[in-house]
Amino acid sequence: MKMKWAKTFWVYLLVTAMIGVLSACGQSNNTNTASGNTGNTEQKQVVLSFMTTWSESDPFTGVYYKNAMAFEKANPDIKLDIETIPYNDYPVKLNTTAAGGNLPDLILMIGGGSMFEQIARSGALMPIDDMMGNWKEDFLPSSKIKEFNVDGKQYGIPGEVSYATVIYYNKKIMKDAGYTEFPTTYDAFKAMVKDLKAKNITPIAYGNKTGSVLLASLLSPLNERISGPDLYAKIKSGEQKFTDPDFMNALKDIKELSDIGAFNVDLNSIDNVQATNLFLSGNSAMYIDGSWGAKQISKDKAADLEVGFAVFPQIEGGKGSMSTMPGATNQGVVLNAKLDDAKKAAAEKFLQFMYSEESYQNIIRDGNMVPANVEAPADIDPLFKEMTGVLAGVKEITPVYDIVMPATVVTATKNGLQGLTTPGGSTPEAVAEELQKELGQ
């Protein structure tokens, strides 16, 4: 009898211990985050959790990471707890953490637009209007930061400006094929594409596996050149439809380019990096990507490869012009609405530092255009300098499709464009109808 009770006792003990361990696991996490929130008054160090895509070795965001590290060094009382998410996974991660109400203290917004607006309107972010005194209008014009403004409230400041479409071309291949000047009309451009194809040269290298490149750097400029800057607003308000001739013509143009063999055969199976390599290894005459593509090209190109830059050509009879370009402002850090005063003060210091003249100069030096009026440093990359020279004629930025349209439509468009450029794939009519249906839901 005694034995039995002893056994029961041990079983009890074991079970309680297990439950204790399990619940302790849960609790210890809670206490950790709680102490992180209140901040340790003894050391007076504020820890800011920060979700971002920035990483030291990334050619596109390395400069931001280094700026952030410089901030930490200059402010030993503030510590950044950085969580780096790969670029392609970032929107999903951002959506789910925002939907779950688990946003960190600082959040990177890669761009403004529909997703950011949705999160801002849900009340999860803190407006920074009371901090805007740190930036003077002549340093940072409000027209350049409006993508981070929702319903009259400013939430963040962009680090760079990027154009969605730059045509990079191999000067030697073009010259050998008889083109010394890049065509400025779409018809001449198309004729050149046909001619290149006939000469057995792949005209344009694209890496559209994720679907985002054709969308940003081909559909966006075609829409702008055909219909002018306000097409998307009209479609969203119901004034126009995807199935109306304006948008349909852009789809037909893409289909036509695909049919005449303008792209590499595997455009939908390779990614941007692979497409850049195709271009850099002399396997295509052109490569079309956003202005950010210049960095990779400048970094990886052989010394004797001469790269030229061109603005997307004019379409005859279209409402757009070559002095406008679809583009976006990117890399703005926004604040969690739930920050306490100590953290808010630290975050303000961080923003001040990250979007200061010095930081912007670092960003330019790294090969980006910036929204602020900053003098360009003398030691910038010559290739980048050439590109900004070509783009100097662009006076106005118009919205990019994937920034303005709702996520459902963007996903459907990506798939639609892949279908258009796949042999035996979809027709422009089917794609447009699908999009209109998606928008209506």
Partner: protein
């Protein structure tokens, strides 16, 4: 032991931690997913009651059915590819010729150990149009017109992916069958040989019936594995070009997290659960009738 049996509540108490964890991380998410499937919800704005509309949309959604069809291709290729191949390799390796050579087992098992991400990247390079191994080999022997964009051809891409899956998991079933074959008594085999059952005859009439239970278990494993397929496709084609390699899981993922249709995505996952259950039950039924 007797004490435990007399006091059933002790057993129950011992199970509680596992049950709690399982409920929290498995049952509850499934049920909440079913619950969300009745709403129109983008994750931010308030949920709107949508009734069965998500399911009505789902039934009319061609892409969903295409993704289920692709899932079925995966099931077919897995069951008819991995299991016979695995059995064949296991028989080879347990035969007199290779019995002492551990190296072949390691080689065939290797793909199972490699992370799916690595497998996907390697095969992506194999299938690359410009400089991939497959096309280079075809061009080298003069079959230029056979060389093509394997992963970009909507009619072909899903089968091309099936090959990768078969390559990846055959080794797993080989090892399972190797273990089962060790339990086949050598006396039986010798007796069969004396009676003149050799080669395919011996395999089909003697070996297969003895390890039948293992084969059945493997088939179920195979089916559930093929229905769960996600990572390989996500990395290799991301469901593209234009949905041609979409499977249930990737479609659910893109609808829920890229298009932010949480309600519709939940409806897709619920449908996947139902279809998977159905397939498993059907396969059990078939296997049981074969057994008899």
């Amino acid at each position: 032991m007797q004490m435990f049996l007399r006091h059933k509540w002790i057993i129950a108490a011992g199970l509680i931690p596992a049950v709690v964890i399982y409920t929290m991380f498995s049952i509850y998410p499934i049920l909440s997913s079913v619950y969300y499937s009745f709403f129109k919800w983008d994750g931010f704005s308030p949920k709107q009651w949508h009734g069965l509309q998500n399911y009505v949309n789902l039934i009319g959604d061609g892409v969903f059915w295409q993704s289920i069809r692709n899932n079925l291709y995966f099931v077919l290729f897995s069951v008819l590819g991995e299991i016979p191949l695995g059995l064949y390799l296991a028989m080879m390796l347990s035969g007199k010729l290779f019995r002492r050579d551990g190296i072949f087992r390691t080689v065939f098992f290797m793909p199972v150990v490699i992370s799916t991400i690595v497998v996907s990247l390697i095969w992506n390079m194999f299938y690359n149009y410009q400089f991939g191994l497959v096309n280079t080999a075809l061009r080298a022997v003069g079959l230029d017109h056979w060389a093509q964009n394997w992963l970009g051809n909507p009619g072909l891409a899903i089968f091309v992916l099936c090959i990768v899956v078969v390559w990846q998991y055959t080794g797993l079933y080989m090892v399972i069958f190797l273990a089962a074959l060790q339990n086949v008594p050598s006396e039986v085999l010798e007796a069969a040989e004396l009676d003149g059952a050799v080669g395919i005859k011996r395999t089909w009439h003697i070996v297969v019936p003895i390890i039948a239970d293992t084969i059945f278990a493997s088939v179920v494993l195979c089916i559930s594995g093929a229905l769960r397929a996600f990572d390989l496709i996500y990395i290799m084609t991301n469901g593209g070009p234009s949905h041609s390699t979409e499977v249930g899981a990737t479609y659910m993922f893109s609808q829920t997290f890229s298009s932010m249709k949480y309600g519709y995505g939940s409806a897709i996952s619920t449908a996947i659960i139902i279809i998977s259950f159905g397939l498993i039950i059907i396969s059990q039924f078939i296997l049981r009738s074969v057994k008899r």
